[in-house]
């Protein structure tokens, strides 16, 4: 009896609704990789459509594709395709949906883009506002002089 149930559920389809209204029909075992979705299903068993309020359709599509295809080779190529904006939004999506493999892949990708770069470069890349006054910054730089010898030229 338990076997029958699991057989039926592995081919069951679920609908995910992105924040901009785009609908995605996915197999249950794919949706289960998103732990947030899994929790939703656990709470309300008969649900057919699950709202994903924080993720745009375009990013949800990428996330679903990742879950289907992930392996070492795919991951290595995956991260090269996106600009920094998309990487961050995908990371926010992966974090909200609680998909550990994708989170790790994206964190690695973001780290790769700022490896050995100066704070000025990193601020530009992430749009971080520099709240330091020039005096504060000069003071900090002096304090951290030991950390800044030989950084890559941007």
């Amino acid at each position: 009896m338990a076997e029958e149930k699991s057989q039926a559920s592995s081919s069951k389809m679920l609908t995910l609704k992105a924040s901009d209204g785009v609908l995605f029909e996915v197999e249950l075992n794919i949706a289960k990789e998103m732990k947030t979705v899994q929790a939703y299903i656990d709470d309300c068993e008969d649900i057919e459509t699950i709202p994903i309020p924080n993720v745009l359709g375009k990013h949800l599509a990428i996330v679903i594709e990742y879950i289907k295809k992930t392996n070492e080779e795919y991951d290595a190529e995956f991260e090269k395709q996106w600009n920094m904006d998309d990487l961050q939004l995908l990371l926010l999506a992966a974090n909200y949906l609680n998909i550990s493999g994708l989170q790790e892949c994206l964190c690695k990708a973001i780290a790769k883009r700022i490896e050995n770069k100066s704070p000025e470069y990193v601020r530009k890349v992430f749009n971080i506002e520099n709240d330091h006054s020039p005096e504060e910054e000069a003071k900090l730089r002096k304090e951290y002089k030991w950390a800044f010898e030989g950084v890559d030229k941007d």
């Binding site: 920094m84 704070p119 749009n127 971080i128 709240d131 330091h132 950390a147």
Partner: protein, 449 residues
């Protein structure tokens, strides 16, 4: 295609919704994860990004990655080491004490044989050793007498999963016997001189090891014993044939690459899928011993036999029975001399072969002829699609073989001949002889170099 958008806007101007700082609003554990993939130098530099980021790295540094190559190069190695040491020591002092689960330390440009270097590296390693350490990678090169000895308390790393030691590293037998790494799955050793028995002792302390990548030098006639848990094994001796041999009995082994060792004892290699062998015969051993070894590789799909191995194989009697390779798809042979009949005898046993690559080193003159086979090897008729002959000189025997392949290879797609004749005219001559041969396969493309 990598697209990195560098926003060139005035930092003090108001920003629209599209230009949000998303990274600073990511949850702490996510930002911490990003930091864990950064070289520590970059992680520390985040303290300058904004007041919000000032102390973040200090609270969240559980992965350390130190590289002396990222500092301003200095002809005076010791001066460079001092600058590097100031950085490393500051990081250790400023970070909040939280367990380090991964450390990478790479000193290529700066180590010298001085007490300061010696003590610094030892202290840094000692401060991360413990049950929380999962990954440790040490790359320590020096152009003088500096040497690193793994500390005896390395055994307290009961959860160490991956260990890499490269460069000026040495351990004696007693030290090796004292090291136990019960969780270690991956070991990479790329070091200089060490006794074979010391390496065996170290390996015996790693009972669940799955991946082993070994390179060292030795002068000892010892036997290297590897753990039976291995799935992937690559081992090479750095100083040529020293007589050191091996003992492998690993039922889960899938990948095997051995170079410059003398053949010892093997068992349970039927699950090996990919193998590369460059091994020397033990004194007085006949070729039939090698055949027995190849027989145990009954499941192999991808096989590379290098010079020492093929020399041994071809030194056998001319009616030597080659092992049956039921699953072999890809075969590469580096040969001491070319013998077409012997090659064809070998092909008779590789029924499913798709790719054949031969490199002729022509070290010796051909030995007695092998008997010609009446029947065409079945792989030529039904499976072989790619053939490459390197070191081709157009000798009569080579030409015979190449012609035979072209004439009988029913489904050949690609044949590549790499001709190393010095004389251009001879090359052209060789090319002409081959291109005139009628090909059994309509799709066969002959590429001549």
């Amino acid at each position: 295609m990598v697209i990195i958008e560098t926003i060139t806007q005035d930092l003090s101007s108001k920003r629209g919704k599209l230009d949000e700082d998303r990274i600073s609003t990511l949850p702490e554990d996510v930002r911490s994860k990003i930091l864990s993939f950064l070289p520590t130098k970059t992680a520390v530099a985040t303290s300058l990004l904004s007041p919000k980021w000032r102390y973040f790295w200090q609270q969240h540094l559980s992965v350390l990655d130190f590289d002396d190559d990222s500092f301003e190069p200095n002809e005076d190695r010791f001066e460079l080491f001092k600058t590097f040491a100031v950085f490393v020591n500051s990081v250790f002092l400023l970070r909040k004490p939280c367990h380090v689960h991964k450390m990478t330390l790479s000193c290529i440009q700066s180590l010298v044989d001085d007490k300061f270097c010696f003590n610094s590296v030892n202290t840094w390693v000692r401060s991360v050793i413990g049950p929380h350490l999962n990954d440790l990678h040490l790359t320590l090169y020096s152009d003088d007498g500096y040497c690193f000895e793994p500390p005896i308390n390395l055994s307290s790393c009961i959860n160490l999963l991956s260990l890499s030691l490269e460069g000026a590293v040495y351990f004696n037998l007693q030290r090796a016997k004292g090291i136990r790494l019960p969780s270690l799955k991956k070991l990479h050793l790329d070091i200089g001189y060490v006794l074979v028995t010391s390496v065996s002792a170290l390996l015996s302390g790693c009972p669940i090891l799955e991946t082993l990548d070994l390179y060292f030098e030795t002068e000892e006639y010892g036997i290297l014993c590897v753990p039976p848990s291995l799935k992937k094994l690559k081992m090479r001796l750095g100083n040529g044939n020293s007589g050191a041999s091996f003992e492998i009995d690993a039922p889960g082994l899938k990948y095997l690459d051995i170079s410059e060792f003398t053949f010892g004892n093997v068992g349970n290699l039927q699950h090996v899928v990919e193998a590369s062998l460059n091994i020397h015969p033990p004194p007085g051993a006949f070729a039939y011993t090698l055949v027995k070894l190849l027989d145990t590789l009954s499941g192999v799909k991808h096989l590379v036999l290098c010079l020492s191995t093929t020399k041994w194989l071809l030194s056998g009697p001319t009616d030597l029975r080659f092992p049956e390779f039921q699953h072999l798809l890809h075969l590469e042979l580096i040969l001491p001399w070319f013998n077409s009949n012997c090659l064809l005898s070998l092909l008779q046993t590789c029924h499913l072969l798709q790719v054949l690559i031969i490199e002729n080193h022509k070290e010796q003159s051909p030995l007695p002829r092998w008997a010609a086979h009446p029947s065409v090897p079945s792989c030529l008729v039904s499976h072989l699609t790619f053939v490459q002959l390197k070191g081709y000189r157009g000798s009569r025997d080579e030409l015979l073989f190449a012609k035979y392949i072209l004439q009988k290879g029913l489904i050949l797609k690609t044949v590549i001949i790499v001709d190393i004749s010095a004389d251009i005219r001879k090359k052209f001559d060789n090319l002409k002889r081959l291109s005139d041969v009628p090909r059994a396969s309509g799709m066969c493309r002959l590429t001549y170099d």
